[in-house]
């Protein structure tokens, strides 16, 4: 299982690296996005997103450049991500984050999610800070945050608990409003379960605490 996850992770990284778009700027002011598939002394052949093949004479072309989505330095951003929390055990996670980018590097977000540990289900509610290392649409980033795993069933002895997390990731902007993210991080948490007998709580103070130490392998989407 772990091998599959690692292979998937590196595959995603490779796809991101190869998914660079080109922009052909014509002298008449038009811009066509796609991937340049052939370039000669006389013409340029470009394959657009819908599969069409465009051929331009070099005399028509002003320049060919890499596509750089216009990414705002400030404003809303959101991510939907899926994580595999692994280590001595493995469990899944889905997170939705809504944040605000204050400048070209820093952002702050609130998140909610769904995850399970040892047969108990939780809704992680958290706050996280984000630091984009580069001032580009495609950039490595760091996030760090903390929150509380709220148990889905609050009527039993499962009381949830606090957690902290950090992630080193890479985001690639595919357009002005959409991109993909991936990363690997670490999650630490303490989940409390009151010790109950068949009659109820054994002792008002007695609890078992599960200490969660997991690596977090994550993939998702970013929206602006």
């Amino acid at each position: 299982m772990m091998r599959v996850l690692l292979v998937s992770f590196f595959t995603v990284i490779s796809l991101l690296a190869s998914a660079q778009l080109d922009v052909v700027v014509l002298k008449n002011g038009s811009e066509i996005r796609g991937i340049v598939i052939e370039k000669s002394d006389e013409s340029i052949k470009l394959k657009s997103k819908d599969g069409s093949i465009w051929v331009f004479k070099n005399t028509e072309v002003l320049e060919v450049k890499s596509f750089k989505p216009l990414v705002s330095n400030t404003g809303y951003y959101g991510t939907l991500s899926f994580g595999a929390l692994g280590g001595s055990d493995l469990s899944g996670n889905i997170s939705i984050v809504n944040g605000y980018k204050f400048n070209k590097h820093w952002g702050l977000a609130l998140g909610l999610g769904y995850e399970g540990f040892y047969g108990r289900q939780y809704m992680p509610a958290f706050i996280e800070g984000k630091f984009n290392i580069l001032d580009k649409g495609s950039t490595p980033f760091l996030t760090a945050g903390f929150g509380y795993d709220v148990p889905f069933s609050i009527t039993d002895n499962n009381k949830g608990g606090f957690f902290g997390q950090a992630l080193l990731g890479f985001q690639h902007q595919l357009g002005e409003h959409f991109g993909i993210v991936t990363g690997i991080g670490f999650r630490y948490g303490q989940l409390q379960v009151e010790n109950w007998g068949w009659w109820g709580p054994i002792d008002g103070s007695a609890k078992t605490i599960y200490e969660i130490n997991r690596f977090d392998l994550r993939f998702g989407f970013i929206f602006r």
């Binding site: 772990m2 690692l6 692994g86 280590g87 001595s88 055990d89 040892y118 690997i184 670490f186 010790n195 109950w196 007998g197 054994i202 002792d203 103070s205 007695a206 609890k207 078992t208 605490i209 599960y210 200490e211 969660i212 130490n213 997991r214 690596f215």
Partner: protein, 423 residues
């Protein structure tokens, strides 16, 4: 290539290092340890102190006009009982961990948790430790708050001389280990020698109540330590020697030495051991009964056994059993008489004294043992009676609120002559 190697190494580190764990957190009696050596030179040796207010009942012991009342795990109150009508709270022997004593001539034998200590008490106000056997008893635990479980105990850290009630966090362990493993099981055990005292003695020996785990017989001290009967040869009084343990696979609560035999009251029956080989007593007789606490005394051909419910003894019976022990190898239950909640008992001159819990002290004429339950002479119902020492003319009874003494020289006119009230 180097980057990929680094990434793979980092990922491997994460995978290997990411181990979930679990631990327990609860309010518990957390042990307070005292280093073994420090214990033996300070808390665990005798110190004479001025008299203290007696705060709780404990086992009682009488020798040479002095009455000793144990304050379990802390020390021994010394009462000058030269005049039973006006006993004087004279002083206090501070011995941490003491739960039982026996006095043979001038030597007081006491347990101090794991050790047997020999104290010369020829001068009451100047006790001196003259001998000690270290680590001869099972590790005993001092009193604790029963509302809370016990934290994990590490016997290698020293002697547990107290407890602190506080939040306790167990060691971390892999997921899937202990859940709900609060240490209630250990909490149910209160130390091997709890409730220890001493058996009725002969010349040179003192006399104890019937609730005892120490007993003197033929210059041997027998101590019930957990499931082991430990004989101590007192030929060299300051250097008692213990070379063997006799396994008793029942929960023994009291020892009573009589006629070269040891009668053991257990939660499930009465055992009789003969001591022709003093170092290795052997069982000769047994009589079973239902689960109950059961001190025993013997007089002539009959043993008197009280069974009671409550505390760790469970059971459903509160009664006095009269057992024919003419043949020690074949004790026979002859009669049973219903009682309220009998604890200790004593017998002298055909008069049986039974501490019947909230019903108080009951005194019976035992001239006809098989009718003893119907021959009540007197009842002192205003006391919660626990245990008693019966002398020729005086009976000393310990209750919840004090030590009572009665003049029994005239059985038809028994009268209370004094009381030492507890705080």
């Amino acid at each position: 290539m180097k980057k990929i190697s680094f990434i793979v190494f980092a990922l491997s580190f994460l995978v290997v290092g990411c181990k979930d764990k679990q631990f327990q957190k609860y309010t518990a009696n957390v042990p307070v340890y005292t280093d073994f050596e420090e214990f033996r030179t300070t808390l665990g040796t005798v110190k004479y102190e001025s008299a203290k207010t007696i705060e709780q009942k404990g086992n009682i012991y009488f020798k040479d006009n002095f009455l000793f009342i144990l304050d379990n795990f802390d020390g021994i109150h010394i009462i000058d009982n030269s005049n039973p009508a006006a006993p004087i709270n004279k002083g206090y022997y501070a011995i941490t961990g003491v739960t039982g004593i026996a006095i043979n001539n001038q030597y007081l034998y006491a347990n101090a948790y794991t050790d047997l200590v020999v104290i010369d008490v020829s001068i009451i106000e100047n006790p001196a430790e003259v001998g000690r056997i270290e680590n001869v008893f099972d590790y005993a635990l001092p009193n604790y708050d029963p509302q809370y479980p016990l934290a994990e105990v590490d016997f290698s850290k020293g002697i547990i001389t107290g407890w602190k009630v506080e939040e306790y966090v167990t060691d971390k362990e892999p997921i899937g280990g202990c859940f709900n493993c609060v240490n209630w099981a250990l909490a149910e055990s209160n130390g091997a020698l709890f409730d220890a005292s001493i058996g009725a003695g002969s010349q040179g020996q003192g006399i104890s109540g019937s609730i005892t785990k120490f007993s003197l017989l033929n210059n041997y001290l027998y101590v019930m330590d957990g499931n082991n009967l430990k004989p101590f040869d007192l030929s060299a009084p300051t250097r008692p020697s213990n070379t063997t343990d006799v396994g008793i696979w029942r929960e023994v609560e009291t020892l009573f030495a009589y006629n070269n035999h040891i009668f053991m009251g257990t939660t499930s029956g009465m055992l009789i051991y003969e001591t022709s080989n003093k170092n290795v007593p052997s069982q000769v007789g047994l009589i079973e009964h239902a689960m109950a606490c059961d001190p025993v005394v013997v007089d002539g051909d009959y043993a008197y056994v009280t069974l009671r419910t409550g505390t760790a003894c469970s059971g459903q019976q509160n009664q006095l059993d009269v057992v024919d022990v003419t043949n020690y190898a074949n004790p026979i239950l002859k009669k049973t008489f219903a009682l309220k909640n009998p604890h200790g008992l004593g017998i002298r001159n055909n008069t049986l004294f039974v501490c019947d819990g909230t019903d108080g002290l009951k005194i019976f004429d035992a001239t006809d043992p098989l009718d003893v339950g119907n021959q009540k002479i007197k009842t002192y119902s205003s006391v919660q009676a626990t245990d008693i020492i019966v002398l020729e003319n005086t009976a000393m009874m310990i209750g919840d609120d004090g030590l009572y003494q009665y003049d029994i020289s005239d059985l038809q006119n028994i009268s209370k002559i004094s009381k030492i009230s507890f705080k």
